[in-house]
């Protein structure tokens, strides 16, 4: 039996920090990087007698996300306590949602990494709101080897999105996460910054293996500590190999051994068993008596639906249908965010063809943004001006390489218009007589190129075009080529 007989099966749990000003159940701010224990109050410290009050915005953001993920939104949702002891959890329980999550089953569709014009669909089990724990740091400096606890993060609103085990490859898992992050960014419900912990991923992984006696499943492993999408991809590929070898060694199937938790070690590029929290599976959930249930009425749902806007998947399709872009080009533009899509549409509205606009965006604009570390909102050339510039190329008023000179000029002179740029760069249209004279002169100077061309070898024309551009940067290379050919033919 070979590795071909085994199918990787993956489900993901994604924790997303919602973009609120304050925590889920208290008015403490949620700013990342504040000095330790300066964003705390009796509620998030779990002091006796303090009572939680739910943040309205967190509910709205969760509903909005749920709607964008095609989730059923139940009319009623409630709060439960998840009980466990850990030093970063001051109350001894986490306020979470057990049996009535704010978002029910849904799905997310995303481009198939193996065939970008097709999509894959992953079903979602649910998405629920919960509060984050604090941060524990083990620091040798503190002398006694104690751990230090910072509770700034405790109580921050998280939405935990749980998928069905519908993913079948490490690449598909990465593509799903990429689309999810893009969607959340479009919705502006989270900043999705993995370095700052506002998007965290755990993966449940096993293999389905075809054996002569039927399909068997290997024990499910939960992989944690996945700090980047690349880490997800690598860890899953590693687990596929590891579980296959493990199964060949011991033949253990799902249900025969307890679920294992492993952590991804980025440096060693391996997963390693993690020490289980004792009895960690026994959380003894029960309804939180401090919090009343929430009714999600139709009015709230409609208000949240109105905020959704076009989702990346819909936008990609529209850019293809409305502008005739390829799936690839549409994806590159959409992946840059809503602002770049709007920029693209404004450029086209100014008279640029979609194809040329897309290529200018992907090459000149995106390269400049990367080089100068800018967002499109900070980009010095506004969409109207770029649209006008490309339209001039489109109409043959400006040669493409001269348009690139104008583009560079605009970068240094944000206030300049096209006329000023033309004047500053000495761009004048070369009339046909002038151009014909120049071509004739070049042909006279290069008799062997003419001879070659007459013999059917046109390679030398490139050198003539280069020479023409050096004498007059405003010449249109296509015109030089056709005039030279014409003159050579006339010579007979």
């Amino acid at each position: 039996m070979t590795l071909d007989a085994c199918q990787l099966v993956v489900g993901l749990e994604v924790h997303v920090q919602l973009r609120t000003q304050t925590k889920l159940f208290c008015g403490c701010p949620t700013i990342f990087g504040a000095p330790a224990n300066t964003q705390v109050c009796p509620v998030c410290l779990g002091l006796p007698g303090a009572l939680p009050v739910l943040n309205r915005r967190a509910v709205e953001l969760a509903v909005q996300t749920g709607l964008a993920l095609n989730c059923a939104i139940p009319a009623r949702t409630k709060w439960d306590r998840k009980n466990y002891f850990y030093p970063d959890l001051p109350k001894g329980y986490q306020i979470s949602q057990f049996d009535l999550p704010i978002c029910g089953p849904g799905w997310l569709e995303f481009p198939d990494p193996d065939a970008p014009e097709h999509t894959l669909r992953v079903r979602l089990v649910r998405a629920h709101l919960e509060e984050d724990a604090g941060k524990s740091m083990h620091d040798e400096k503190s002398g006694r080897g104690d751990s230090r606890i910072d509770l700034n993060r405790a109580g921050t609103p998280l939405l935990e999105i749980v998928t069905e085990p519908d993913l079948r490859s490490p690449q598909a898992a990465k593509a799903f996460l990429t689309e999810l992050r893009l969607l959340l960014t479009y919705l502006d419900v989270s900043d999705c910054n993995m370095q700052e912990g506002s998007l965290r991923v755990d993966a449940n992984v096993n293999l389905h293996i075809d054996t002569p006696s039927g399909k068997v499943a290997t024990p499910i492993v939960e992989v944690k500590n996945l700090n980047s999408f690349r880490a997800v991809e690598r860890a899953l590929a590693y687990e596929q190999q590891r579980q296959w070898q493990q199964w060949q060694r011991d033949g253990k199937q799902l249900g025969e051994v307890p679920k294992q938790t492993r952590g991804w070690d980025e440096n060693q590029a391996v997963t390693v068993p993690q020490r289980e929290k004792e009895e960690s599976s026994d959380y003894r959930y029960f309804p939180d008596p401090d919090l009343v249930p929430i009714a999600i009425d139709a009015e709230l749902i409609e208000r949240c639906r109105a905020c959704l806007g076009e989702r990346p998947l819909e936008l990609r399709l529209r850019l293809q249908q409305e502008y005739g872009l390829t799936a690839y080009d549409a994806d590159v533009i959409v992946a840059q965010g809503r602002a770049l899509v709007e920029y693209f549409e404004m450029v086209v509205a100014k008279g640029a063809s979609a194809k040329r606009a897309s290529s200018w965006l992907q090459q000149d604009v995106l390269r400049t943004l990367n080089e100068q570390n800018l967002t499109i909102e900070q980009f010095p050339i506004d969409a109207d001006k770029l649209g006008e510039l490309i339209a001039a190329v489109e109409k043959g008023e400006l040669e493409n390489s001269r348009a690139r000179d104008v583009f560079q000029y605009y970068l240094g002179h944000p206030q300049a218009g096209l006329e000023q740029a033309r004047a500053a760069l000495g761009i004048v249209q070369v009339d046909d007589r002038e151009l014909t004279e120049l071509c004739q002169k070049l042909l006279d100077e290069h008799p062997q190129i003419v001879a070659q061309a007459k013999a059917g070898d046109l390679k030398g024309l490139g050198a003539l075009i280069g020479a023409a551009k050096r004498r007059n940067p405003n010449v249109d290379p296509r015109k030089v080529r056709s005039i030279c050919q014409h003159l050579i033919e006339q010579q007979g």
């Binding site: 701010p29 224990n37 524990s136 230090r148 009895e279 003894r284 309804p287 929430i294």
Partner: protein
């Protein structure tokens, strides 16, 4: 209702309580009688009654997403058994 010593030991462990063998034995009997008392509720016919998740009829006690002043760090750490002026200190947490 019967409770085994093992069940009581597990519940105690989850609550981080340490009991002697005698305590475990006497608590088994006491817990069993508490559960039996509550079990009487099973006799009530709840056919067609909606599950109650909260005794209050109140719903939607929400607050606006506005920052409110919390505690100073000094005040936050004041009652901690150990701190270093910035963080709470606890016995080492590994992994």
């Amino acid at each position: 209702m019967q409770l085994t010593i093992e069940q009581v030991r597990k519940v105690a462990q989850l609550a981080r309580l340490e009991f002697t063998e005698e305590q475990l034995e006497s608590f088994s009997a006491q817990l069993a009688s508490i559960i039996s008392f509550v079990e009487q509720l099973k006799d009530v016919d709840t056919e067609g009654v909606e599950v109650l998740s909260h005794p209050h009829a109140l719903q939607d006690a929400l607050r606006e997403d506005e920052v409110q002043e919390g505690l100073s760090r000094q005040a936050a750490l004041a009652n901690a058994p150990a701190h270093d002026g910035e963080c709470f200190l606890v016995p080492p947490v590994l992994g």
